[in-house]
Subunit: 362 residues, 2 copies
């Protein structure tokens, strides 16, 4: 099958090219075996030390995949969904998964109390991750505030970084964010405390500063720890439904939340920016400008798993055999299915929250 999805074809390609160049990332070039949808379609677009993870998978060597939950609201978004899909992929490929609740960071960077953070994580965020495909039986969970080893690493690593370096990496620095970032470094390296091994952090590219900080710390603590430099894997943002680089809470109608009422989501899809022509006649004659179509992008990133099906939609829409209204109706139908399925999985996961593998700390 010919590849319809150009890795650089979605969203605002020049932004991603610039990011890769500016931060010295590796472009993702189908490096991993048995790729998931995000990898096949170039939504995963870059990373660091991807070969270390590809190698561990191929040689069946131990590696880990890790992500943090920031319990700052009672909703998550499609970016979180992509992270979970990638974690689930690495779990399937033999990686040991860690999910930490960043309750200390919620306190230091966002002023959320530990009690509130814990409550939100247990009531919503962790069940939501399970609903999105995380295999809870194969996942180790912990709360930062209870993990003294992580905290102790944070204090130790703080000595390894200057304020200037911090500002160079993050663009700014304040006490809360410094504590938050340095604690993330502890989290990312925690799975290696017992035994150094490769690990991968699948994350939005805006999180790359944490990866760089962690890799700097790893280099500076080699004499003591022998940590392996952690790998990372970056996915693109889901573009705003109104056009533009990403969905954002500050732009009304630009984003879909999880959970969200399907009617509300469909209304946003109805009003989304499309690449359809002004008249039905023009649409039939010229076909859609598909690279400008935010609804097609949503289908590609999130709603259509099967490549052949996506190819058909692509060809029909671009070829003028499908109208913009028909595409939106199809997207609404698929979004409704997804949101309803998410909701019922979420309810089920909530009931089973007690069975998760939380690390017991002495």
């Amino acid at each position: 099958m010919k590849k319809i999805i150009d890795p650089w074809g979605a969203g605002l390609p020049e932004d991603y090219e610039r990011i890769v160049k500016d931060f010295g990332l590796e472009p993702y070039r189908n490096d991993l075996p048995e790729e998931n949808r995000l990898m096949r379609r170039g939504i995963v677009f870059a990373g660091r030390d991807i070969a270390a993870i590809a190698g561990a998978i191929k040689k069946k060597k131990p590696f880990y995949v890790l992500s943090g939950i920031m319990p700052s609201g009672e909703k998550i978004h499609l970016g979180n969904k992509m992270v979970v899909e990638n974690i689930a992929y690495f779990q399937k490929m033999g990686g040991k998964a860690y999910i930490l609740v960043a309750d200390l960071e919620a306190a230091s960077a966002r002023g959320i109390s530990l009690e509130e953070a814990k409550k939100r994580a247990l009531n919503f965020h962790i069940p939501a991750y399970v609903a999105l495909g995380l295999d809870p039986k194969k996942t180790t969970f912990y709360f930062q505030s209870e993990n003294k080893k992580v905290i102790h690493m944070a204090y130790e690593f703080a000595k390894k970084i200057t304020l200037n370096e911090f500002e160079a990496i993050y663009g700014s620095a304040d006490p809360g964010r410094i504590l938050s970032a340095i604690t993330q470094v502890g989290d990312i390296l925690y799975p290696q405390l017992e035994k150094p091994m490769p690990g991968v952090i699948p994350v939005g590219v805006d999180q790359d500063p944490h990866i760089r900080l962690t890799r700097d710390v790893v280099r500076r603590t080699q004499s003591k720890y022998k940590f392996v430099l952690p790998s990372s894997l970056y996915h693109k943002y889901t573009p705003s439904l109104k056009g533009g680089l990403k969905m954002s809470k500050s732009e009304q109608g630009s984003y879909i939340e999880l959970p969200e009422d399907p009617k509300s989501a469909c209304k946003k899809i109805q009003r989304a920016l499309t690449g359809g022509r002004k008249t039905l006649e023009e649409q039939k004659r010229l076909g859609a400008e598909i690279e400008k179509d935010m609804v097609f992008e949503l289908m590609k990133q999130h709603l259509v798993e099967d490549d052949a099906e996506l190819q058909r939609i692509h060809d029909d829409y671009k070829g003028g055999r499908m109208s913009s209204g028909e595409l939106k109706a199809l997207a609404c139908e698929k979004m409704t299915d997804f949101l309803e399925d998410f909701k019922s999985r979420l309810d089920k996961a909530r009931k089973n929250i007690e069975e998760l593998n939380f690390v017991k700390f002495s």
Copy 2:
């Protein structure tokens, strides 16, 4: 008895006057009941909210006294001795004493491992504090690294301070020192978690930034915690034996360590800067320039407990009836007694280390 000791008469008075003015401290004016040697003699020279503690003592209300041990070496110094003497005073006056081992700070600000810090504190620093007069039976001890409540407060309070404020208070900022300082804030307020009450931190005046930071945090967290603003009590530095504001490890022969071989200490006293005259005849005729005499200052601050005895030495030396050599011989004798006594108390305290009240954390 007339007061021979002018509170502003020792060391470099203008420095202390300036410090009081610049930092908005309260001058200490014999505010506390049943004063100890340091208070009577103006070596304790300033503080913050001293009246709150004086009031608690007089009304027999609950209050606490707290200090931290920084296990960064295998020696302590005469400044630590003054802190312990003040803690012992407040213990006697009914205060609840807390001694914490700042092992997280040792890691974040000085790069000392937690294991090493713990070993040093148990083998040396805590027994040394007991040897200097701390009542271990009435003292609560803890290690920062084991006290999650302190750590959680540190993360929470980090959000309350900007980098600019931190730099304004400390003159500079780096990640290690930020973590260190913010954790001290947690320590200082920890005894109030169960019930807000006055507390006093007796400390060298160079530690005032921590007190200011803590008081700022207290003001900003009133809606949640109702902490009482902590009080502080500042003592002067012990001046360098060679003259100058303070004993310093960077100036050879300027300082006495604990423990130290009495012979080595006496040699330093022999070489100290005195206010004795050039010839014995002049000394008899004019008397010593006692305000320039570092040996007399050492006697006043550390070696002579009895005021009447100190008065006699003062009058004899200033009146020309005692030579500088005689003063030094007397100081050496008293220093030898003190160092030998310290050593034997230290050995005894080491044997009883298991009996201390360490907080058990779940």
